[in-house]
């Protein structure tokens, strides 16, 4: 187990470092000179230079990078040069909205993904099979934003069942909160769920071919038990990993979904920050998005290892 983790750790670390570097470079890549932004449009070259020194922008990049990482690690996320507000505050204000969305979507994704997958996994032939296959493929092929827009057109415009934009925190008003949450969450979850379903289904089909399933049959084990303790048990790993990866995608998908459904989440913050060149905010959001994605993935791998004795015990 430990050995397994040790093996995985480097790639995780690498991932984090790369992300940090990219995030750190973002303002410098896009924003031009932060000092200029602070100084404002009608500042003299001297003022700008002064500010540059005061902000430590004149020092070599590696030094600045090290310092920045240090700050972020110690929870100082910096200050937006555009709105002069601490980034932590800006993000904090939006976190809730995105969490509500992401959590709901993830829950939906897992439930629907596993549900569909197992359903497809146990219906091997006939019309229902074809139906499931079709459904999964279609969902698979349509990304969140398209799904979202279609949902809006159907439930928001044609039938006017749901409010299409805006939001209310579920904690303030559960009923209305969810009425705002339901469509974006579904939009986010559906494609990912389909992905999981497809993988689980494929894996189950694969496991069914394994000889130990035949052996179980030869033992006289009833089908339901074979499904549970042999087929499903051996397909679990796939499901876990799949979910792990997908959660990252949900976070990313939130960007577009929030824009479409006009939710004031981190995604929206990221977008508005980019168009207003507020890169100090963008960089932190990017950093967080990736870090979370990576960590979740890593976690899922640990879980996988825990599930599989071959990895758990040695390897």
């Amino acid at each position: 187990m430990l050995h397994f983790l040790a093996k995985r750790l480097p790639s995780v670390a690498l991932m984090l470092v790369v992300t940090a570097v990219i995030a750190f470079l973002l303002p410098r890549l896009g924003g031009g000179d932060p000092a200029q932004v602070v100084a404002g449009s009608d500042a003299t070259a001297e003022q700008v230079q002064a500010i540059r020194e005061q902000m430590g922008l004149d020092r070599p990049l590696p030094v600045q990078f090290a310092e920045w990482v240090g700050q972020v690690a110690t929870g100082d996320l910096g200050t937006s040069l555009i709105s002069n507000r601490p980034v932590a505050q800006l993000i904090g204000a939006r976190l809730g909205s995105t969490l509500e969305l992401a959590v709901t979507a993830t829950a939906l994704m897992i439930v629907m993904g596993l549900g569909l997958g197992i359903l497809a996994g146990i219906t091997r032939k006939g019309a229902p099979r074809a139906l499931l296959d079709g459904a999964i493929s279609v969902l698979l092929a349509t990304p969140p934003h398209v799904t979202g827009l279609i949902l809006i057109l159907i439930f928001g415009i044609t039938w006017r069942l749901m409010p299409i934009t805006g939001e209310v925190s579920v904690f303030d008003d559960p009923v209305r909160g969810f009425s705002y949450l339901i469509m974006p969450a579904f939009a986010l979850a559906l494609p990912q769920a389909a992905m999981i379903a497809r993988l689980v289904d494929a894996r189950m089909a694969q496991v069914r071919q394994e000889e130990f399933v035949d052996l179980a049959v030869a033992k006289g084990v009833p089908p339901r038990r074979i499904l549970l303790s042999h087929v499903l048990r051996n397909s679990l790993g796939t499901a876990v990993i799949a979910t792990g990866i997908r959660i990252g995608e949900i976070l990313a998908g939130a960007v577009v979904i929030e824009a479409i459904f006009a939710r004031q989440g981190l995604g929206m913050l990221a977008v508005t920050s980019i168009s207003s060149r507020d890169y100090e905010v963008v960089q932190i959001i990017v950093l967080f998005a990736v870090v979370i994605a990576v960590l979740v993935h890593f976690a899922s791998e640990i879980l996988l290892a825990a599930l599989d004795p071959r990895i758990r015990l040695d390897g």
Binding site: A6, K7, L9, P10, E210, E211, F212, D214, L215, A216, V217, A218, K219, G220, V221, P222, R225, S229, H230, R233, N234, L307, D308, P309, R310, L313
Partner: protein, 685 residues
């Protein structure tokens, strides 16, 4: 036959595919199994032997269905029995042992759990089940069951896993056990262990066994009765003794004769069966064997012979028009003159291929924390091959024989030692050396299905080789045709793609490709082990012919001692990356000086009925140790039948690593090489 019949199969027919154009895989298969006896079902790929077993278990793959006949177990018909009824029978009244112990166990459940499951699903309480599981593990000879019962399959060796699978089969002491190629995936020494276990169990528990195998040897040593299957039909049926003594179906006879025998005469040409095993979807009309049968007559092409007793040998039945008409199977038309190739074969004086203290290491990959130590897959192997000579390299899987051969042609990088080709040091394997090796040494691969690029025609494949030889494009076509004829293939096939050929033919093409560059050494890596028994002889013969005709030197790698013995002038036996014995074939097989060699030989099943042979065999215990950390001293000591295991006083085996020693040509790496020979003697009758 014996009085009380446990299982009786009558006119069983099985079909696949749609009702419109069904694919019939079993044609009126009939046989009985008497209580307490072992029935062998032999046949090559596509003969329908596994399908027979599956239909008995009621476990036909999707789309398969019994379309005729009946299966009755202890008088109870299984055909058309509702699924839940069958389920109650499975594992309780009939159990099955599968081919591949790696795959047959659920990787995420402890072996205990898996044995107990077999019991609990048939209504045993969890506590009793556990007790029983322990007992079973003990029965199948798993040491220290109490602790191992809670381990996972991957912590067991191949042999041990197969024992677990057997334990599961025994769980509810089912009267009938069907073993589907239970030893095919195992090494010879492990195979011997498992076979012996089966014999013991049979003796102890009186279980009835159906043994499905392709190996006549296994049948001869294990079974009481046998049915021979070919093209989805039973072609011969009877007691093992009778059938091996005087087979009444041309196929059975040809099969037996075409097998090189560990005891038989060497270097003579094998009577090969022409052609390839039929493909069930395109069975020849009439007797499925007729296209390959020397005795085939008009009637054979038209009507399917019934399986019926042969007038002069009523105890065995065969499905052959000729035999039935003649009253017994007439002898084959005279064999093509058996040239004794041994005569007139002279070897060059200077070795054409010379390996000195060869080392190849694997692993040693960078890890995060530590760099794991390299382990030698090949650890100091020295070997010489003289022009025109054939050297057999024998050993079980993982002993490093293939690694050696690939190192020679530069596929595996060396980490030590020297390679001389035709006296020239090519260890560095720079371009010049490589070029030299290329045109001197060529390679024939094991898997005929993987060794030809499916996207290229035979012509393209051969010309690619000729191109390397530097033959101008204009002359290649002619050369291609010459090569095809050399390996006995119709030149007309040049335009085809590999998929159009049978395994045997592909292997010939592989040989032709190797010969295209006119090498002087041919390295054959298990060239026949992937082939059906009836095909092997063809390839072996071709190799022999070419060797003699072109004065090639062969480095012949195989795990099957019989085949090696048949071709080789000298033999080297490898164990755990070392050569443990080396010498002239005759001597080694007659008087092995290394216990391992002896054990190998006695483990190899002989296609000669020999009741009680099992008892006399020297069967090695345990499994080959992990090459990553080989045992101190003699690497074989952990399994050695004359080593510290039986003679604790022999510390020397533990302390010092024996070197290859002995008179000039026959050398062995054993401190007690004298005793090995005796070991071998005991085995012989």
């Amino acid at each position: 036959m014996a009085d009380d019949i446990l299982l009786s199969v009558r006119d069983l027919s099985v079909e696949f595919g749609s009702a419109q154009q069904p694919l019939r895989v079993l044609h009126d298969v009939s046989f009985d199994v008497a209580r307490g006896r072992i029935l062998g079902i032999v046949g090559e790929s596509g003969s329908g032997k596994s399908m027979t077993a599956k239909s008995v278990m009621g476990m036909l793959p999707e789309g398969g269905r019994v379309t005729g006949g009946d299966i009755s177990l202890a008088g109870r018909s299984l055909v058309g029995l509702p699924e839940r009824e069958l389920r109650r029978l499975r594992g309780h009244d009939l159990a099955m042992v599968f081919q591949d112990p790696q795959a047959a166990l659920n990787p995420v459940k402890t072996v205990g759990w898996q044995i107990e499951e077999a019991l609990t699903v048939h209504g045993m309480s969890a506590r009793d089940a556990r007790a029983r599981a322990l007992e079973l593990l003990r029965q199948v000879g798993i040491p220290d069951p109490e602790s191992r019962i809670d381990e996972y399959p991957h912590q067991f060796s191949g042999g041990m896993r197969q024992r677990v699978v057997i334990a599961i089969a025994l769980a509810n002491s089912a009267p009938l056990i069907i073993a589907d190629e239970p030893t095919t995936a195992l090494d010879v020494t492990i195979q011997a262990q498992v076979l012996r276990l089966l014999v013991e169990l049979r003796a102890r528990l009186g279980v009835t066994v159906i043994m499905i195998t392709h190996d006549m040897g296994v049948v001869a040593e294990l079974c009481d009765d046998v049915i021979v299957m070919y093209g989805g039909r039973v072609v011969e049926r009877g007691a093992v003794a009778d059938i091996f003594d005087a087979p009444q179906h041309p196929y059975t006879r040809a099969l037996l004769r075409s097998m090189p025998q560990i005891g038989g005469d060497r270097l003579s040409r094998l009577p090969a069966i022409p052609g390839a095993t039929p493909d069930l979807s395109h069975l020849p009309p009439g007797c499925a064997f007729h296209p390959r049968c020397a005795l085939a007559e008009e009637v054979c092409r038209r009507t399917v012979p019934a399986l019926s007793p042969i007038p002069e040998r009523p105890q065995s039945e065969a499905a052959c028009h000729v035999a039935q008409r003649e009253g017994r199977l007439p002898p084959e038309p005279a064999e093509r003159g058996e040239v004794d190739a041994a005569a007139g074969r002279s070897f060059g004086r200077a070795p054409i291929l010379q390996l000195e203290d060869l080392r190849v290491d694997f692993g040693s990959r960078r890890r995060l924390l530590r760099r794991e130590p390299p382990f030698y897959a090949v650890d100091g192997v020295s070997l010489e091959v003289f022009p025109g000579e054939t050297v057999g390299l024998v050993g079980e899987s993982g002993c490093g024989k293939t690694t050696v051969s690939r190192a020679v042609v530069g596929v595996n990088p060396l980490s030590g030692g020297r390679i001389l080709v035709d006296g020239r040091d090519v260890t560095a394997f720079d371009d010049a050396a490589a070029a030299h090796v290329r045109k001197t040494v060529q390679y024939v691969f094991q898997d005929p299905y993987a060794s030809l690029n499916p996207r290229l025609t035979i012509r393209q494949i051969l010309s690619e080789a000729l191109e390397q030889r530097g033959l101008p494009a204009a002359e290649r076509e002619a050369e291609c045709q010459r090569l095809m004829e050399m390996v006995g293939l119709d030149r007309g096939y040049l335009g085809r793609y590999p998929r159009a050929f049978s395994g045997g033919q592909r292997q010939r093409i592989g040989i032709a490709r190797a010969l295209a560059v006119e090498p002087r050494v041919l390295i054959c890596d298990e060239p026949v082990s992937a082939l059906d028994v009836s095909i092997q002889a063809q390839v072996i013969n071709i190799l022999a012919d070419l060797r003699d005709r072109l004065g090639l030197a062969l480095l012949f790698i195989a795990h099957d001692l019989a085949v090696v013995r048949h071709l080789s002038d000298r033999v080297a036996v490898m164990y755990l990356g070392r050569i443990v014995e080396e010498g002239p074939a005759e001597e080694i097989y007659a008087r092995p000086r290394h216990p391992y060699t002896a054990a190998l030989m006695s483990s190899t099943p002989r296609p000669r009925p020999d009741p009680g042979a099992m008892g006399r065999k020297t069967v090695l215990g345990g499994d080959p140790p992990d090459p990553r950390n080989p045992p101190s001293g003699c690497r074989f000591r952990t399994r050695c039948p004359i080593g510290p295991l039986v003679h604790p006083e022999r510390r020397i085996c533990i302390e010092t690593d024996p070197a290859l020693a002995g008179d000039g040509r026959h050398r062995a790496a054993c401190h007690f090489s004298g005793e090995a020979a005796r070991l071998a003697e005991e085995t012989k009758t």
